[in-house]
Amino acid sequence: MNRTWETAARAACAALFLSTAGAVAQERTAVEEIERYRQALADGNPAELWEARGEGLWKQKAGPKNASLEQCDLGLGPGVVKGAYAELPRFFADTGKVEDLESRLVTCRMTLQGLTAAEARKDPFGSTGKKVVNDALVAFITSESRGYVMNVKTAHPKEAEAFEIGKKIFFHRGGPYDFACATCHGVDNIRIRLQDLPNLTKKGDAQRAYTSWPAYRVSQGELRTFQWRLEDCFRQQRFPHLEFTSEASVALTLFLAKNANGAPYNAPAIKR
């Protein structure tokens, strides 16, 4: 191969990197518009409908054992909901596993209500005209941690291991597009089209992003949970389907949640 055209082309590279600043400033105003819209809506977040429904489902007797979930141990002892989400995912001795909120709810629906694993994992995400139990329970439980400071631990060896695995997955490039989570979420101040992308490896961005999930998505008219967010980002990454409450999903969640430590939790939020 002829080296001269390569050298010539390389030398010309520098010029193009200098010309973007003006256009970016111009479009900031569009982003600010969206932010104002978001704040206007925040006065009446439809997520409250999910929270109320979830509280009802939490207390309602259901399943073959005709029991409520009120005795479910979310990590702070049976029945303690307040502040529990700010310390999840965590290791649970009864299952011997690290669980996030959604996998813990699967566990409780099995042990307390007598559902099979398949029944408890069925219908993880809602869609138009189809409301599901998981979304509502998640909305209720997370809302009970609003204002609590994120405090996810890696003291237990299984938690430390989950953190390392989650980190590996975050940087794992693969698939036909060579993407990893880090491709879109490993750099400061970038956007895809007009969508701002948080740098989830940096404290400030990770805190803002993690503490704002789950969220009511205006564009979809649905409450979206963190498990949903991960599955849909893997789709954009051109990866296969992430199984609901799978070990990889929990490890990745623990990695991201730990990066958000120190910030007050503030969701369910509302997003575009």
């Binding site: 390569e6 010309a12 193009l16 973007t20 980190k167 794992h172 296969p240």
Partner: protein, 206 residues
């Protein structure tokens, strides 16, 4: 092709053997096993997409806090440059109008996409290209006035082809997909995209 893969995995082996390289091989193995157990095939996205070629493996190791060493970068660029295939007819430029449509389209490769339809390239997701399209991303540099600034000659045409074919040939561990090497775009689509960058009448150069 085969020899390249062998050569590159030899680099990987050499790198992981040396003292300064991150020594986290056991977790790497474990995390892939965890992933394999956590995903299921859906549509065109099968489980083999979790497996990495040597480029993906090296660029995953050298990301985040682990900076890519200069010598590894140089070897990656050499290896990836050797993968470039130029069209048999020697013509690098197609139709920029078709190129613009391809650059706008974000479909392709996802399990939610129909694999029988042609893929787009979604250049606008990451790059500014024309003045008219305001909805562009900033993951990559602006390409506005690409050829107007660098010239319309054959060297720049070849450079543009190479970048789109395999971005790592000039920027090891770039986040830009290898559109030609990975078969995302057909040769004809590649020509149309290169015309979008290189044609004096293309909105990129207006």
């Amino acid at each position: 092709m085969k020899t390249k893969i062998i050569a590159l995995s030899a680099i990987a082996a050499a790198v992981s053997a040396c003292a300064t390289a991150p020594s986290d091989a056991p977790v790497a193995k474990n995390s892939l096993a965890v992933m394999k157990a956590s995903f299921t095939a859906k549509g065109q996205a099968k489980l083999d997409r979790l497996d990495q070629d040597s480029l993906q493996r090296l660029c995953s190791i050298y990301s985040g806090d682990n900076e890519l060493p200069k010598d590894v970068a140089a070897r990656i660029e050499k290896e990836q440059l050797a993968t470039i295939k130029f069209p048999a007819d020697g013509k690098l430029l197609g139709d920029w109008k078709s190129g613009e449509k391809i650059a706008q389209s974000g479909r392709g490769g996802q399990f939610s996409d129909d694999p029988t339809k042609p893929s787009g390239a979604n250049c606008y997701a990451c790059h500014q290209l024309s003045k008219a399209e305001l909805s562009y991303g900033t993951i990559g540099p602006s390409l506005y006035n690409f050829a107007k600034v660098r010239g319309y000659g054959p060297d720049v045409q070849k450079y543009a082809w190479t970048k789109v074919y395999n971005s790592h040939a000039f920027a090891a561990c770039s986040t830009m997909p290898r559109f030609g090497h990975q078969g995302i775009l057909t040769e004809g689509q590649m020509k149309d995209i290169v015309a979008l960058l290189m044609d004096p009448n293309s909105p990129v150069n207006k």
